[in-house]
Structure formats: structure tokens, C-alpha cells
């Protein structure tokens, strides 16, 4: 198949200081960060929590983070699910359609590691194997606050977990 994007050089070349680059990305996005969400075989647990972060209590929009309906308008790609064979192509095409710079965020234990589906023959994931992942948000599903922490971590506004 020829839909595999050229793998992004995440660590080895061009970028000496990752933190500096992230600051620059945060400045590039100017506090307004648009996300495109791709469900790559998720059980909808993560989707329920992703819905919750735009409710009035968690209120994603107060942080300048929005959900876009087109990858062309998106700065970040949210991926849920263990990446099934069927969703591999659409996921990679979505990534290709996004303008640079772009961030990839793995949401949930499935996207991070394959989770309970890791040993399934129908699963091509985890996401790390297909795309350069910037932030891992663990949990099954991650709580809305964990999601907020992960999104702010992608924008370099909070510290990572230890």
C-alpha cells in the first residue's frame, strides 16, 4: 500500500531542543488549537469522555481548544481506539490532509498500547507504530480532567506526569 506517510523525524534529526520547538508551536497556534478526532476502532468510552470536556463544567473552549470537523482546519489529531485494519487507511489519510505543524495525541489505553485488544490479529496499532505521537493520554477511558491535562501538555502549558 502506498498510503503510508513519510515517517516524521521526531527525535533524530533537525530538532535539537524539543521544548523550544513546542514553545514555537504553541506560539504558532496562538492559543487557538483546533482538533480533529478520528475513532480508529474505539469502544466509544473515550468518545463519551471527549464529549464531556466540551460541556459547561469542563468547558474545553475556555482554554482556546476547539474540535474541527475537517482535518484541513486542524492543528492536532486525536486518535482513539487500537487502530483496526479498516481504520488504518482513513487515519493515515486524515494525517496527510492536516497542515503542518501538527500534533498527534493518542487518547486512551488502546491508542497508547493496544490496551485489552493488543493481541487481536485485526489490530494494526498501537498508534505509535503508524504515526509520530506527541502526547499519550492513558486511561480506560481517560477522565475528562486527564484529557484536559493531556491537551494542555500538548500545548506545553502544564507539566507531564511522573
Amino acid at each position: 500500500m502506498n498510503d503510508v506517510p513519510p515517517r516524521q523525524a521526531a527525535a533524530d534529526d533537525t530538532i535539537a531542543d524539543e521544548r523550544l520547538l513546542r514553545r514555537r508551536i504553541a506560539r504558532l497556534f496562538r492559543g487557538s488549537f483546533h482538533l480533529r478526532h478520528v475513532d480508529a476502532g474505539s469502544c466509544n468510552g473515550c468518545e463519551a469522555e471527549l464529549r464531556a470536556i466540551s460541556n459547561p463544567f469542563y468547558d474545553l473552549h475556555r482554554l482556546g481548544i476547539f474540535v474541527s470537523t475537517s482535518p484541513r482546519h486542524a492543528d492536532g489529531l486525536l486518535v482513539t481506539g487500537p487502530i483496526t485494519m479498516a481504520m488504518r487507511g482513513p487515519l493515515l489519510r486524515t494525517y496527510e490532509a492536516m497542515p503542518e505543524p501538527r500534533l498527534v495525541i493518542a487518547v486512551g489505553a488502546c491508542a497508547c498500547t493496544g490496551g485489552v485488544f493488543a493481541r487481536s490479529p485485526l489490530v494494526v496499532g498501537p498508534l505509535e507504530r503508524l504515526l509520530p505521537v506527541d502526547v499519550f493520554i492513558p486511561g480506560c477511558p481517560p477522565s475528562p480532567l486527564t484529557l484536559l491535562h493531556g491537551l494542555l501538555l500538548a500545548l506545553d502549558r502544564v507539566e507531564a506526569a511522573r
Binding site: 500500500m1 503510508v4 515517517r7 459547561p56 463544567f57 469542563y58 468547558d59 475556555r62 489505553a109 497508547c112 498500547t113 493496544g114 490496551g115 485489552v116 493488543a118 493481541r119 494494526v124 498501537p126 505509535e128 507504530r129 503508524l130 506527541d134 502526547v135 499519550f136 493520554i137 492513558p138 486511561g139 480506560c140 481517560p142 477522565s143 480532567l145 486527564t146 484536559l148 491535562h149 493531556g150 494542555l152 501538555l153 502549558r157 502544564v158 507539566e159 507531564a160 506526569a161
Partner: protein, 127 residues
């Protein structure tokens, strides 16, 4: 009174969370991620009950010592926080953390289980 809804709203105030400016208290039974107490963890010979209870194989035993005792390690990104290992541990060495700030930038540096996941997190696989 017609404006009773207004007074009610003003009395209630703003309920939106102030995170990340202010921390948010999690519920009492909130399950963050499993933490291993290395002093109390005494995995004997054979498969520990916590490892066999772990659904996504996030817990694993690295057997290094000559006497067959090993060290327990956890892949935090794979943990689904089901809590089955905590009940299974005979030494009471496992507990849930109260933290919800669990996102990380990389999985490198994290302990990875032996077998499946360690190989899977390797290079890119093309089909």
C-alpha cells in the same frame, strides 16, 4: 417572582472547573494508576497473582535474580485502572494513585512488559 431564576443563578455562581489554574479534587474512589510499593512487593517463584489478574498485561515480572525472585514492573500507558491486581496482591503492595494528571510525552523510559508490548513498541510495521 419572575426573576427567581436570576437570583438562583447568581447564588449558585460559576460551576465551571478552574483547572489548570486551580486543582480539581477527584472523587474518593477515583482510580488513577497503579503504584507498586517496592518494599512490600515480594513476588515469589512462579507467576504472581497480580500479573495473572492483569487484563491488558500491563503488569509483568522481570526475573533477574538467580534465586528466581523478580521485580514487578508496570506499563502505565497500558493500565486500564480496573483494580483487579490490588485485590489479588497477597502482600498489599499495590495501590491506586489519586492523581489524574497522567498524560506523558513519550513512552520511552517507562517500564515495558516482557513479551508482546515490548516488541510492539519497536519500529514501524508496514503491510
Amino acid at each position: 417572582m419572575q426573576l427567581s431564576w436570576l437570583w438562583r443563578g447568581l447564588r449558585t455562581g460559576v460551576l465551571t472547573t478552574r483547572y489548570p489554574k486551580a486543582s480539581e479534587a477527584m472523587p474518593e474512589r477515583w482510580r488513577g494508576v497503579v503504584r507498586i510499593d517496592p518494599d512490600r512487593c515480594r513476588p515469589g517463584a512462579g507467576l504472581p497473582p497480580c500479573v495473572s489478574a492483569c487484563l491488558p498485561a500491563a503488569l509483568s515480572l522481570d526475573v533477574a535474580a538467580a534465586d528466581g525472585t523478580g521485580r514487578l514492573s508496570l506499563d502505565a500507558a497500558a493500565c486500564i485502572a480496573c483494580g483487579l491486581c490490588i485485590g489479588a496482591c497477597p502482600d498489599g503492595a499495590l495501590a491506586m494513585t489519586a492523581s489524574f494528571e497522567l498524560a506523558t510525552r513519550s513512552r520511552t523510559g517507562r517500564e515495558t512488559p516482557t513479551g508482546g508490548t515490548a516488541q510492539r513498541s519497536g519500529g514501524e510495521k508496514r503491510r
